[in-house]
């Protein structure tokens, strides 16, 4: 268990990271030109109306004072009221969180189901038709942007074949599985590219090593050892690749969320920056940060658990 003592140390180190993120986000947001008053008033903007709104929102106070106020609220568990929705930013975020989590988890599962067999077969039949086909297919799935792929999927599977709903998040677990299948598939295809190649590469390494040491290893049990290696590689690869890409994934789902009308955090974040809804941006950024740092830590723990030679600090 001493190996895992780093967990506690990392958790402590998380605090300055989160603090740094709120600080950077806050000042970065206010550096961006434009403010909520412009969004609220649109084409009937006048300086008088804009000033009145800015004053009502407390945006004409000195920046440092605004930041301190924000931190004060944060310690009481609130990030403020959404300027766009006129309700607590926390509520807005909580309503969107489940959809994003479900979508990401679902994408990970689908990606695994696609990549693990494909990667292993590609390695076994290295250079064969399946290998090449897998490479091309995933490359197309990766290289064609999400909104293109998404629309094509909707056209084929939702409209022509009427197999899946066109859009939305659905209700109930079963409804979510139904509604999110196509979006999850779209995301999973992009990830399968890197996953399949990673699995293929490490499986090849295993096979090559095995070939070398055939003379030294005897008995049927070596299959179990090797297959355990292969599958261990597989699990670690999937977890690690997803872990590395999680931050991009969360905010990258914004396009998928748009195409499939899924009310998730990605589109909430982008929309909120566009409307300068400062409290919501702060809140979502913080939620992201916690998720990402958490997954980071989890990835390292999983890696340590599966690979005894990894030395963690």
């Amino acid at each position: 268990m001493a190996r895992y003592s780093f967990v506690l140390r990392r958790l402590l180190q998380v605090i300055p990271v989160l603090f740094g993120i709120t600080l950077i986000t806050f000042f970065l947001l206010h550096l961006i030109p434009g403010d909520p008053a412009l969004q609220i008033l649109g084409s009937s903007y006048t300086k008088a109306r804009g000033d009145a709104i800015r004053h009502a929102l407390g945006l004409d106070r000195p920046l440092v004072r605004q930041y301190l106020l924000f931190m004060q609220h944060l310690f009481h568990g609130s990030v403020g009221e959404s300027i766009f929705f006129h309700e607590p930013a926390r509520t807005v975020i909580e309503e969107r969180l489940p959809a994003t989590m479900f979508l990401i988890g679902y994408s990970a599962v689908v990606a695994t189901l696609i990549s693990v067999p494909a990667g292993i077969i590609s390695a076994l039949r290295q250079g064969g038709i399946f290998d090449q086909a897998a490479r091309i297919t995933t490359l197309v799935g990766f290289a064609m942007p999400g909104f293109w792929l998404g629309i094509i999927f909707i056209l084929i599977f939702s409209i022509h074949l009427n197999l899946f709903p066109v859009n939305g998040y659905g209700s109930g677990f079963v409804g979510h599985i139904d509604h999110l299948f196509l979006p999850a598939l779209t995301i999973a295809l992009a990830f399968s590219t890197i996953l399949i190649r990673t699995l293929r590469s490490s499986t090849l390494a295993v096979l090559a090593a095995d070939y070398i040491d055939t003379a030294k290893i005897k008995g049927i049990s070596r299959f179990r050892i090797l297959s355990r290696h292969v599958f261990r590689n597989a699990v670690v690869s999937v977890v690690v690749v997803f872990g590395i890409n999680l931050a991009f994934l969360i905010s990258g789902t914004v396009i998928i969320e748009n195409v499939f009308s899924i009310p998730g955090l990605g589109s909430l974040l982008v929309d909120s920056v566009s409307t300068r809804d400062y409290p919501v941006v702060q809140g979502v950024t913080l939620v992201f940060a916690v998720m990402v740092v958490g997954i980071n830590l989890l990835t390292d723990v999983v890696h340590a658990a599966l690979d005894p030679r990894v030395v963690l600090e």
Partner: protein, 291 residues
């Protein structure tokens, strides 16, 4: 931090690699990759020789012409601009993004990962917390901020990519470095008194490079696609730039009526993607063990 087989197996793999020389036939993927990328690069550089159309010339009389019509091989876009010409000229920009943006992040990220994994201790802790900071900071907020402040342009896209993509390389490199630094030959090298940078560069880096390159090949294509994603959000390359990603996102409203606007530049990206992937596999095979 990708999968690593047990220590014995990897050591044997490496010994095997040193025993075998390279064989020309094995390098077919490498050659194919280089060939594809070379052709794309040459075509885009030689664009004025290949097509007489200018990528920016409007032709209001012939908007949305389908491929193989009105003298336009790949058709025209909503302004009547020739798509083939735009793809060729756009190749310059996109190859620049693929190599330039990726190259910098690859070198910087790998270096940081090497240092972090090798030295460990507080160096590692500080560097990794900085990684966490960049990692946990939502990419799109950063991009929107950069673009909103500085305006959209290819260079600003570079800045956004540089600031965020290096962390993947850092983490991959660090992960492998941590595993490798416990190996006999590394320990031996240190015991022999080799300086740190020599150990890092000569002993650890070569074993890490193949994993980094695999990722880099996908990352290169991803960076090009980022242009499309940014364009989708309205943060992409400045119009009327024929950057492929911008073309794809500009064409999104026409997917249902004039599919070629988005699909053809998308195919261009696929071709470049295939090139990079073959290149990556070829390099990985070269550096690892053939069979």
């Amino acid at each position: 931090m990708t999968a690593a087989p047990s220590a014995i197996l990897l050591d044997l793999v490496e010994r095997r690699a040193r025993r075998r020389g390279g064989r020309a036939g094995r390098h077919i993927t490498l050659i194919a990759g280089i060939a594809i990328l070379g052709i794309v690069a040459a075509a885009s550089l030689a664009a004025p020789l290949i097509t007489h159309y200018n990528p920016d010339t409007l032709d209001p009389l012939r908007p949305l012409a389908p491929p193989f019509s009105s003298g336009h091989i790949l058709g025209t876009d909503e302004f009547g601009r020739d798509i083939f010409a735009r793809i060729l000229y756009g190749g310059r920009i996109d190859l620049l993004i693929a190599f330039g943006a990726t190259g910098v992040t690859l070198v910087a990220g790998t270096a940081i990962g090497l240092v972090s994994g090798y030295f460990g201790g507080w160096v590692d802790a500080v560097l990794m917390r900085i990684v966490d900071l960049f990692f946990a900071f939502p990419f799109f907020v950063l991009v929107i901020a950069i673009v909103a402040m500085l305006g959209p342009s290819i260079f600003n896209m570079f800045v956004a990519i540089w600031l965020t993509s290096w962390i993947s390389y850092a983490r991959i490199t660090r992960g492998h470095t941590i595993i490798l630094k416990g190996r006999e030959y590394v320990l031996a090298a240190k015991a022999l008194g080799y300086r740190h940078h020599r150990v890092m560069l000569r002993h650890i880096l070569p074993n890490v490079v193949s994993f980094v390159l695999i990722f880099a090949m996908v990352d290169a294509v991803g960076n090009v696609l980022l242009g499309a994603a940014l364009g989708f959000l309205g943060l992409g390359a400045k119009p009327p730039s024929p950057e492929w990603g911008a073309m794809i996102s500009d064409g999104q409203n026409y997917i249902l009526s004039s599919w070629w606007l988005s699909t053809l530049p998308g195919l261009a990206i696929v071709v470049v993607g295939v090139g990079f992937s073959l290149l990556g596999d070829g390099l990985a095979d070269l550096l690892r063990v053939g069979d």
